[in-house]
């Protein structure tokens, strides 16, 4: 089995790219792969505590928690991008990592494939 690194820079609400990234991660983990998901830019809002499950608004936390609990999925927020948006470590859901951008590059170093989803 391989390792896949995904970088996602798009917002949770207002774009479907994060939805795709999580669905893709879920499929990969279920196939036995390891997935590192790096959230930068507006993507960091995925880790914000206190999200509500409203109809027609993306809500991914249930799937994210299942993925984290699988032991094959690491999800990490860009510290600077999150903090700039008022999302500190204390505001971040347990299980999410918080790191600087070099974490993403280090994950890229050891990965088999990168799926990089840029910002819109």
């Amino acid at each position: 089995m391989g390792k896949i690194t995904i970088g996602c820079f798009s917002s949770l609400v207002g774009s479907m790219s994060l939805d795709f990234a999580i669905k893709f991660s879920d499929a990969a983990v279920k196939k036995g792969h390891e997935v590192d998901l790096w959230l930068s830019g507006n993507g960091t809002m995925l880790g914000k505590k206190g999200q509500s499950k409203f109809r027609d608004y993306s809500y991914l936390m249930d799937t994210v928690m299942e993925l984290i609990n699988s032991g094959k999925f690491k999800i990490t927020n860009c510290e600077a991008c999150a903090k700039a948006r008022g999302i500190g470590r204390e505001d971040t859901v347990e299980g999410f990592g918080v790191a600087s951008m070099d974490w993403y590059l280090a994950s890229a170093f050891s990965t088999d494939r990168i799926l990089h989803i840029g910002g819109e």
């Binding site: 930068s40 830019g41 951008m101 070099d102 974490w103 993403y104 590059l105 280090a106 170093f109």
Partner: protein
């Protein structure tokens, strides 16, 4: 011991979104990636500006005065200061009626020693083909 080459391809306009800035900051983050890696392992970044992305390299940007944020020009200079390989597509630059005089070619004033390379797309393509990973911004 291994070196992995990562190509950061910037094709988006500056300031319309934060995409191109994130390309530069992620590329610059390669300078500290060693703390996460085994001894002798490292990442070799290459920054390539193509299409609309060449406009990120324009001189005399006023982002700090107008938006209160660091300009993409200053990020490019920081990349040069840190000896990153910075490529600009010659054909795309000319398509906008621009020349080397229009863009950031060096970072001499802050101690940079390497310069921007304006090269035909064919040369950028060779860099992309030799990279281990590509990241499009």
């Amino acid at each position: 011991m291994a070196i992995k080459k990562i190509a950061f391809i910037v094709e988006k306009l500056p300031y319309k979104s934060e995409t191109s800035r994130l390309a530069l900051t992620h590329a610059i983050a390669s300078q500290t990636v060693e703390i996460h890696l085994e001894d002798g392992d490292n990442v070799e970044p290459v920054l390539a500006f193509v299409g609309d992305g060449v406009l990120n390299c324009l001189k005399n940007q006023k982002a700090l005065e107008i938006y209160g944020v660091s300009s993409l020009e200053s990020h490019v200079k920081n990349a040069l200061l840190l000896d990153l390989r910075v490529l600009v597509c010659k054909e795309d630059l000319e398509g906008f009626g621009l020349t080397e005089d229009s863009i950031v070619m060096d970072a001499e004033e802050i101690g940079g020693e390497v310069t921007t390379q304006v090269v035909p797309y064919e040369e950028i393509q060779q860099d992309l083909e030799s990279a281990d990973h590509l990241m499009f911004f």
